[in-house]
């Protein structure tokens, strides 16, 4: 099932769970709308995660599940913020929501 988000005079296609159908339609302004649909107000801390999730996708051609996302952030940020607890403070379901707000496909793996 495809639904559409009306955004900036365009119709953006999303799947039944609200993930963008085409990750190239993403913009930072659209991310605000996607976050709102998740009930999240984006702070700088959210943005930092979202940008890294997007970078992860461009590097590996794959949306991150939680484990590799944590490892990836550990590698770039150190253990302070590169941990599961920190991510869960920002997002109820970090991998799924950060991926969705970053305009990427749903992570294919659960682990």
């Amino acid at each position: 099932m495809i639904t559409f988000i009306e955004f900036a005079g365009a119709r953006i296609a999303v799947d039944a769970q609200g993930y963008l159908k085409d990750y190239q339609q993403w913009s930072e302004a659209l991310a605000e709308v996607l976050a709102e649909r998740e009930g999240i107000t984006l702070t700088d801390d959210h943005w930092a995660v979202i940008r890294y999730v997007r970078q992860f996708y461009l590097e590996f051609n794959s949306s991150p599940a939680i484990r590799p996302l944590v490892k990836y952030l550990q590698h770039h940020w150190g253990a302070d913020k590169g941990n599961s607890i920190y991510l869960h403070k920002l997002f109820k379901e970090p991998a799924k929501q950060a991926t969705k707000i970053a305009g990427l496909p749903k992570p294919a793996r659960c682990v």
């Binding site: 590097e59 590996f60 051609n61 794959s62 599940a65 484990r67 590799p68 490892k71 990836y72 590698h75 294919a108 793996r109 682990v111």
Partner: protein
């Protein structure tokens, strides 16, 4: 959980089969559960790592970048069969992700020692 040693072998070229993504997914899944994994590219499977691939021409999703996830998942053993490389005239510099070329004897030994050998 008791550790089981996995030897996952991909024997098919990247285009025309989904052996690459399947082998990779299996390796990542086993590694996510902290099982020791060796991923071996053998026969035409060595082309999975060829760094001259252009999947844009095929309109299919590239698997090559996803091999970079192995390290993040703690898979340190990415092997290529040295004989297969030689057979195709491929050299280390033609391959991405720095796999370790291994000789036939080492592959046979890994097969003997593994608890699970999965061939794709």
């Amino acid at each position: 959980m008791q550790n089981k040693r996995f030897l996952i072998i991909v024997t098919k070229a990247p285009a025309g089969s989904d052996a690459g993504p399947l082998a990779l997914d299996s390796a990542l899944a086993a590694a996510a559960f902290d099982q020791p994994v060796t991923l071996l590219c053998q026969d035409e499977g060595v082309w999975q790592l060829a760094n001259t691939q252009d999947t844009a021409l095929l309109g299919s999703k590239a698997t090559l970048p996803t091999f970079g996830l192995l390290e993040l998942y703690g898979v340190e053993q990415l092997w290529v069969c040295a004989d297969s490389l030689q057979g195709f005239g491929l050299k280390a510099e033609n391959l991405a992700h720095q796999p370790t070329p291994v000789a036939r004897e080492q592959i046979l030994q890994a097969m003997r020692e593994a608890d699970h050998v999965w061939v794709f």
